[in-house]
């Protein structure tokens, strides 16, 4: 069976969910896989519901949207409430620990990642929460290699933020920040 994984990264506009999806898809292509990334966002610059979807497959991808996801990342409470129903049974859920207070009962594997807190305390800006979360996603799921992701980050973010983004990603990859419940 060819492997096909569908990921949905959700949150609010401005949290970098689209960029996180772009980096993930680019890393998959660097690893020699097929990948499609799509996005959905509101007309506002910040604050409206935003989501990014990535399909990583060994085969060519037809339908590009994710209907039922294997991995759901929720960076906000409203995003979780809206998208949890689309997570496959026994899927993987990652939430931002500070932004998502209540997690409804689910049979998914749940990981609470303090992505925003790490970004704020260690990198002095919450804009890096997305790459911290990405580090956690990759540690838990092994979707793509660390090397490919770092290369993808280098090629996806503005030059002046490369260092901080890489640092955030590596912090996210450090196991002790991830608390399975």
């Amino acid at each position: 069976m060819p492997r096909r994984v569908e990921i949905r990264i959700t949150g609010l506009g401005g949290q970098g969910v689209v960029l996180a999806g772009e980096i993930l898809g680019r890393a998959a292509v660097y690893d020699g896989k097929h990948a499609v990334q799509t996005q959905s966002y509101g007309a506002e610059a910040r604050g409206s519901a935003a989501r990014s979807e990535v399909i990583i497959s060994d085969e060519k991808i037809g339908f590009p949207k994710v209907l039922k996801c294997d991995i759901l990342v929720a960076m906000s409470q409203s995003a979780l409430d809206k998208h949890l129903k689309d997570l496959k049974a026994k899927g993987t859920l990652l939430t931002d620990e500070d932004s998502v207070k209540t997690i409804p009962k689910t049979n998914a594997r749940v990981f609470r990642v303090p992505a925003t807190r790490i970004a704020e305390t260690e990198l002095k800006s919450r804009i890096y929460a997305n790459v911290v979360m990405l580090g956690a996603v990759i540690t838990i799921t092994n979707l793509v290699t660390k090397e490919a992701t770092e290369k993808a980050i280098m090629n996806s973010v503005p030059e002046e933020t490369r260092k901080s983004n890489l640092e955030g990603f590596r912090k996210g990859m450090m196991q002790e920040f991830i608390y399975p419940i």
Partner: protein, 418 residues
């Protein structure tokens, strides 16, 4: 009044000192060691559809872009603003979409391959100039990344509601060429083709894409430059006198080459002079303009077909919606329904013949599109009642028609036909 006086004074001062010859902004000269001084080299990338379109334009030889920002087409302007100066081209933001296409038409007459990119509301504004480009036989490419209309509609959400506007948006008798990509790779390939067709047939060409394909990222392989077929417009011989007739696709001089010809959107004869009362001149001109596209339909039409000559249910689709048909075919196999499809890469001129071919060999045709039945009626017209045609439509929120939805409609209809 004061402002007018002041402007006049400045104009007079400029004229006196010939200042008007100096460009007000410095046009960037290409750096010798710029990172990418030409089209992207052969490689595999993870690009957005809009990036694919912009790079395809550069590969095709586009060296002038004028546009006005609009979701979901802005990335094309953004990318070309960065890239065109690197290859010695110009990207300019105009005051609106009317001026954008105006600048593109001007650049084309100055000899450049030129393009603009917009979405529904901007495309509406461009209609007048599209007619002008058609009437004056100006090669140019208009990219329309469709979003949910009418009016400003749902700016960030996908739609396919501009299909008929592309065909009939501008007034008067005309014929249009419109191409429909369904992948990032095709955003690149069909942009190149759009330029080639514009140059070959001396006419505006619309790349009719949609938000999902334009904003989607996926892998794309750019070929080696020498492998890309590039068509350039036919240039006149020194002795040539007719640039608007006497042959189907006349040669096109550029401004400054010394031909001193009028260019007008009013009815004109073979040398370009206005004839706004003569029935013969009008008939000859407009019939030739429409005819040069209709007669070459076979060269213009491209599609992807599967089981065209043998299927129970035939799906006709294009753009983002057509990304669902591959999985639908597989799902239908499990239901023991043999499906086929025609995925249109050329929407206009409409591929009547292949649709008719499929109609002869199927029980029912299904037209799937993200609008309220636009191409559906074209399919109905083409098959002339020989087979049942069913619409599958969905609009709003940028939600795609899923393979499951396509399947359930096909199952429902084909079982009822038995």
């Amino acid at each position: 009044m004061f402002h007018f006086y002041e402007a006049e004074l400045i104009a007079a001062h400029r004229y006196k000192h010939r200042l008007y010859l100096k460009p007000t902004t410095k046009i960037p000269t290409p750096k010798k060691e710029a990172p990418m001084t030409q089209a992207a080299p052969q490689s595999t990338h993870f690009w957005q559809g809009n990036e694919g379109c912009a790079e395809g334009a550069i590969a095709a030889g586009c060296r002038f872009f004028a546009g006005y920002p609009i979701t979901p087409a802005t990335e094309i302007a953004e990318h070309l603003a960065k890239r065109l100066p690197q290859v010695g081209g110009i990207a300019i933001q105009m005051e609106d979409e009317i001026a954008s296409l105006g600048a593109v038409i001007g650049a084309s007459w100055a000899g450049a391959k030129a393009m603009t990119a917009t979405s529904g509301p901007g495309f509406s504004l461009m209609q007048e100039n599209i007619g002008y480009a058609f009437m004056t036989e100006t090669p140019c490419v208009i990219v329309n990344i469709q979003r949910a209309g009418p009016s400003t509609g749902q700016a960030t959400k996908c739609g396919q509601g501009d299909v008929m506007q592309t065909r009939w948006g501008t007034h008067g008798d005309h014929a249009m060429i419109a191409l429909s990509p369904n992948s990032v790779q095709e955003m690149y390939n069909l942009t190149i083709r759009a330029f080639n067709l514009a140059e070959r047939y001396r006419t505006p060409v619309v790349l009719l894409a949609d938000e999902i394909i334009a904003h989607m990222r996926e892998e794309i392989t750019t070929p080696q430059l020498k492998e890309i077929e590039i068509v350039d417009r036919k240039k006149p011989k020194r002795t040539e006198k007719t640039f608007f007739g006497s042959q189907d696709i006349p040669p096109m001089p550029a401004v400054g080459e010394g031909y001193n010809i009028p260019v007008t959107g009013s009815t004109h004869n073979e040398t370009g002079h206005r004839y706004t009362a003569d029935p013969i001149v009008h008939r000859k001109l407009v019939e030739r303009l429409v005819g040069k596209i209709e007669r070459n339909a076979d060269q213009l039409i491209e599609y992807e077909g599967y089981n065209i000559d043998e299927c129970e249910a035939g799906i006709i689709s294009y753009g983002c919606t057509s990304r669902a048909i591959y999985e639908t075919v597989e799902l239908a196999k499990k239901e023991h329904i043999k499906t086929g499809f025609i995925r249109l890469k050329t929407i206009w001129p409409f591929p009547d013949r292949v649709i008719q071919r499929m109609a002869q060999n199927t029980k029912a045709l299904f037209v799937a599109e993200m609008n309220l039945k636009q191409l559906f009626y074209e399919v109905k017209r083409a098959v002339e009642g020989t087979v049942s045609v069913f619409p599958i439509n969905k609009i709003g929120g940028g939600e795609m028609i899923t393979p499951g939805e396509l399947l359930s409609e096909i199952v429902r209809r084909t079982r009822n036909l038995d």
